[in-house]
């Protein structure tokens, strides 16, 4: 696959910024350091031969096993992954970018983890990041107007986190 020159170019250009590359996965992915995410994105969007001009999706996966029995078996520490699915209309390539972040910033409950926003790279990331913020509680730094998009503005909690509990009531409506 054509990702291999891509990976070498990325490594060459960003060095330590590229943390991990998995070419055996169903969709090959590259894990990058949050600090270089915007630069990598900009590069991927503009680099000749790749031109990942479309950001298909931004997903946040919460890795936290709430069941203590199962938690003992899993081979990862609780963390979150922000997954960027990119594709190119010009070259018809696809790529997955991953950013690993802690579940809470500095492990303080309630402090949202931060990731630099790529809304300046792909305009579509604007809404995707708002959705990720809304449902998973990730603070995208540099986003023009990061606010809830699907849930009401005064909703509490981030529903797609594994430890989320539905509020008992919302404006007098029974929650559960």
């Amino acid at each position: 696959m054509s990702e291999i020159p891509l990976v070498s170019e990325l490594r060459e250009k960003f060095g330590e910024g590229i943390i991990d590359v998995n070419l055996e996965a169903i969709d090959e992915w590259v894990e990058v350091n949050p600090s270089v995410l915007v630069e990598v994105s900009q590069y991927l969007k503009e680099a000749e031969g790749f031109r990942f001009d479309m950001c298909n999706s931004i997903t946040v996966v919460d890795y936290l096993e709430t069941d203590p029995k199962k938690a003992a078996k899993v081979d990862w520490e609780p963390h979150m992954e922000v997954v960027y699915h990119l594709s190119s209309i010009a070259t018809k390539l696809t790529l997955v970018l991953k950013v690993k972040i802690p579940r809470w910033k500095n492990d303080v409950e309630g402090e949202l983890p931060t990731v630099p926003s790529v809304a300046g790279v792909w305009a579509t990331a604007d809404w995707h990041e708002r959705e990720a913020f809304d449902l998973s509680g990730v603070n995208f730094l540099g986003h023009p107007h990061l606010k809830r998009i699907l849930c009401p503005d005064d909703w509490e909690g981030y529903p797609l986190r594994k430890d989320y509990e539905m509020p008992l009531e919302y404006h007098g409506i029974r929650g559960r």
Binding site: R51, D53, A90
Partner: protein, 246 residues
């Protein structure tokens, strides 16, 4: 069923009282109402009732024109203006009390004078008998129209020089008023414009301008050919097919 013609004495009185009462009543409404939209509404009714009085006085054409131009045109314009400016603060505006007192005194005395004048003349005060034929005759609009073109059919029998030459009509005022109206409408349209921006008044509409503006700003770095692979010939085969064939 020509009621007014035959039942003249009854219906004239009835409708006169009706229309006069509504005209004056809604006139008071205009004066006393604080809400500017309601004022406009009352004014419409008052003017409409006045048109009724015109009909009653036999001026059918003027009545219809009053309805059409005044009530239908001018008042719509006025209400339009009211709605454009009727923001919250300006809908209700109180009048100062001293204004009221002064206006009532001046207006009351003016009314006295006018009423004194109206009922002062015996000639005006005494009603005259008329025939049905005259009622009908006065309602015809053709003489009115001819008078506007300069021909006075009602004075043809008279023997002044102007009449003999057919010059007793209103052709000149009519033309002057027409041009006046035209000039005024153009001037009013010009005045009402806000002269802030003249950017979008070229041959192209502002819409097209806007579009071009957007396109310019977006396509600065656009290499369109990157996205639009050459167009497929008709009945293009799936690329995977050709790969298989290879």
């Amino acid at each position: 069923m020509d009621l007014i013609a035959v039942a003249w004495p009854y219906w004239h009185q009835f409708f006169f009282v009706l229309f006069a009462a509504t005209a004056i009543g809604f006139g008071f409404g205009v004066l006393l109402s604080k809400n500017v939209v309601r004022m406009a509404f009352y004014l419409v009714l008052s003017l409409g009732s006045t048109a009724g009085l015109f009909f009653l006085a036999g001026a059918e054409f003027v009545g219809a024109m009053q309805l059409m131009i005044y009530v239908g045109g001018t008042m719509v314009l006025l209400i339009f203006g009211v709605m454009l400016t009727a923001q919250k603060d300006f809908i209700n505006m109180d009048t100062h009390t001293q204004d009221w007192i002064l206006a009532t005194i001046v207006g009351g005395s003016l009314l006295m004078v006018l009423l004194f004048g109206a009922f002062g003349s015996e000639d005006w005060k005494t009603p005259q008998d008329i025939t049905d034929a005259e009622v009908q005759a006065t309602k015809e609009a053709t003489p009115l129209g001819l008078a506007l073109t300069g021909i006075r059919v009602d004075t043809l029998g008279e023997s002044t020089d102007a009449v003999a030459e057919g010059k007793s009509g209103y052709l000149m005022p009519f033309i002057i008023v027409s041009i006046h109206l035209l000039v005024v409408l153009i001037g009013a349209a010009y005045m009402a414009r806000t002269k802030k921006l003249s950017h979008a008044t070229d041959d192209k509409s502002s819409r097209a301008k806007l579009m071009l503006f957007k396109m310019e700003h977006e396509e600065e770095q656009l290499e369109e050919e990157q996205y639009v692979v050459t167009h497929r010939a008709k009945s293009a085969l799936n690329p995977l097919d050709s790969e298989n064939e290879d």
